[in-house]
């Protein structure tokens, strides 16, 4: 059943899973005018998913409504969906699925089925945030082109599978290897369109945290999130997390397709402290790599009315590129004074970290709530957007105005 409706702001409506419930737009925490007119959000369903914020039908790009981001672990059936190309298998037969491993830097070529991978390699798990590089692109001013995401092109899950490193060591990695490239079962509608193939630096591929996952939150990975196996690159943006993984290529030369050389680029040196990707860098730009520190308030929305003397719960989630969250600070007076928020359970340095701060507005008028997260390295969020042509790394501190009456 398909349910489609225009969003109206309604944070705090309890019946989350109900098709008939009113669900707020992810944009409701910002001024709605910040999203382009045509990006007016509608809710719609994909098989196996609760109604999500539909950005595009084909290829499917569906965003997680903010209500589902209150829990630091994102439900599988509410986890966002992002594809570049529309040649997507309707269904993948796990028994017939094979993973090819090879390339000019590999000691040998090999092929594995799902049972073989499970049997031969140690089972490991990690909690990690998968965030689309372009999350919050719709809030860029001036607007940039692309999928005009709100705040929900991200999710956090417990991923279970094997270490990519163990697989690579099994076939052997020659010392002149520079990158490992990944392809998935999805592809373009036309042969003339470049297939979505991505690579990561060899040291990142050999990192103990980089996995090939088969399970997400204890269940098989949902089709739209990469069934039956997907690459997990904790800390790095979702573009590298290849879905429906079919091929692992050990390369002695950098991959230079459209998706590496042209797309997913940030201006050179503009974002301080992000991880490098030496074999892909040019004078002008570099690939997007790890996520910048960020936070999202999920309990209140811009323009919400509260009563004087009533306790207001400012809570949400914070995350970064894998240093881990050290502190979250909350201001309720537009940034003049800041309080340390209480942090939620630590699920690991790659996970969402919950936070909460309670306050009681004492004066009528406007109360401006702001939140800024700090990671273990001391990085924090920006107050002014760092403009870049593709609309990446939006981690501007939110300003949520409450009307106190």
């Amino acid at each position: 059943m398909i349910d489609r409706r225009r969003f109206i702001a309604g944070l705090g409506v309890p019946a989350l899973a109900s098709l008939s419930s009113t669900v707020s737009a992810a944009s409701s925490i910002w001024q709605p005018s910040e999203l382009p007119e045509g990006a007016a959000a509608t809710l719609d369903s994909l098989p196996g998913k609760v109604p999500l914020i539909k950005r595009t039908y084909r290829p499917p790009n569906f965003e997680t409504p903010i209500e589902y981001l209150r829990d630091p672990i994102t439900r599988n059936d509410a986890f966002f969906v992002r594809y570049h190309l529309s040649g997507i298998p309707q269904k993948i037969d796990a028994k017939a699925w094979r993973l090819k491993v090879g390339g000019d830097g590999a000691g040998r070529a090999a092929q594995f089925d799902l049972a073989g991978l499970r049997k031969e390699f140690e089972r490991v798990e990690i909690v990690a945030v998968c965030q689309c590089s372009g999350n919050r692109r719709g809030m860029f001013q001036p607007h940039v082109q692309g999928v005009e995401w709100g705040v929900g092109a991200m999710g956090n899950a417990r991923w279970t599978g094997i270490r990519l490193r163990d697989l690579l060591n099994k076939v052997g990695v020659n010392k002149d290897t520079v990158e490992i490239a990944f392809d998935g079962a999805d592809g373009p509608a036309m042969d003339t369109t470049p297939d979505f193939v991505k690579s990561i630096p060899v040291d990142r591929a050999l990192d103990e945290n980089t996995l090939i996952a088969f399970e997400m939150n204890g269940q098989p990975i949902p089709h739209w999130n990469g069934f039956p196996a997907r690459l997990i690159v904790p800390g790095w943006t979702g573009t590298y997390w290849m879905k429906h993984l079919t091929s692992v290529e050990v390369r002695t030369k950098p991959l230079s397709n459209f998706w590496m050389a042209t797309a997913y680029r940030i201006p050179a040196g503009k974002f301080k402290g992000v991880a490098g990707f030496k074999t892909q860098e040019t004078q002008a730009n570099q690939p997007i790599t790890d996520m910048v520190v960020n936070s999202l308030v999920t309990s209140i929305r811009d323009g919400q009315r509260v009563s004087r003397g009533q306790v207001v719960d400012v809570s949400g989630i914070a995350w970064d590129g894998g240093y881990g969250i050290r502190d979250v600070e909350v201001s309720t007076d537009g940034g003049r004074s800041w309080f340390l928020a209480e942090l939620g359970r630590d699920l690991g340095k790659f996970s969402f970290r919950g936070f909460r701060h309670m306050f009681r507005p004492t004066e009528a008028g406007e109360a401006v709530v702001m939140v800024r997260a700090f990671n273990q390295r001391g990085d924090t969020q920006v107050t002014e957007l760092i403009a870049n042509p593709a609309g990446y790394h939006h981690n501007v501190v939110q300003r949520i105005k409450l009307e106190v009456a």
Binding site: I2, R4, P36, E37, G38, A39, D44, K54, R55, T56, Y57, R58, P59, P60, L85, S86, G87, Q90, P142, H143, Q145, G146, V147, E148, P188, A189, M190, D191, T192, T193, P194, F258, T262
Partner: protein
């Protein structure tokens, strides 16, 4: 309108329409037929209002050219400006 969609989808046999996309309706106007013939083979038409209205004629032209050059969409050179004009007029910056 429906016929154009069907023809384009047959041309790209590997791609099935996604449930829901039939609800996307673009504004009537000169050039809409070219938009439908060329764009729906690879993506649903909601990509157009999604990127409206902040692109002007030049911006839409660049987008159509990108679809052709970077994504390999077989758009005839004479259709590029017809498509861009339709998009700028109906979904362009005002």
């Amino acid at each position: 309108m429906k016929r154009a969609l069907a023809v384009a989808l047959v041309a790209a046999a590997s791609v099935a329409a996604m449930a829901g996309e039939e609800k996307v309706r673009l504004k009537d106007g000169p050039g809409l037929d070219k938009v439908q013939q060329n764009c729906v083979a690879c993506h649903s038409l909601d990509y157009i209002p999604l990127n409206s209205p902040f692109l002007d004629q030049k911006g839409w032209e660049a987008t159509v050219t990108k679809m052709n050059k970077a994504y390999g969409a077989p758009i005839k050179p004479e259709d590029v400006s017809v498509i861009a004009e339709y998009l700028a007029k109906n979904y362009g910056k005002r």
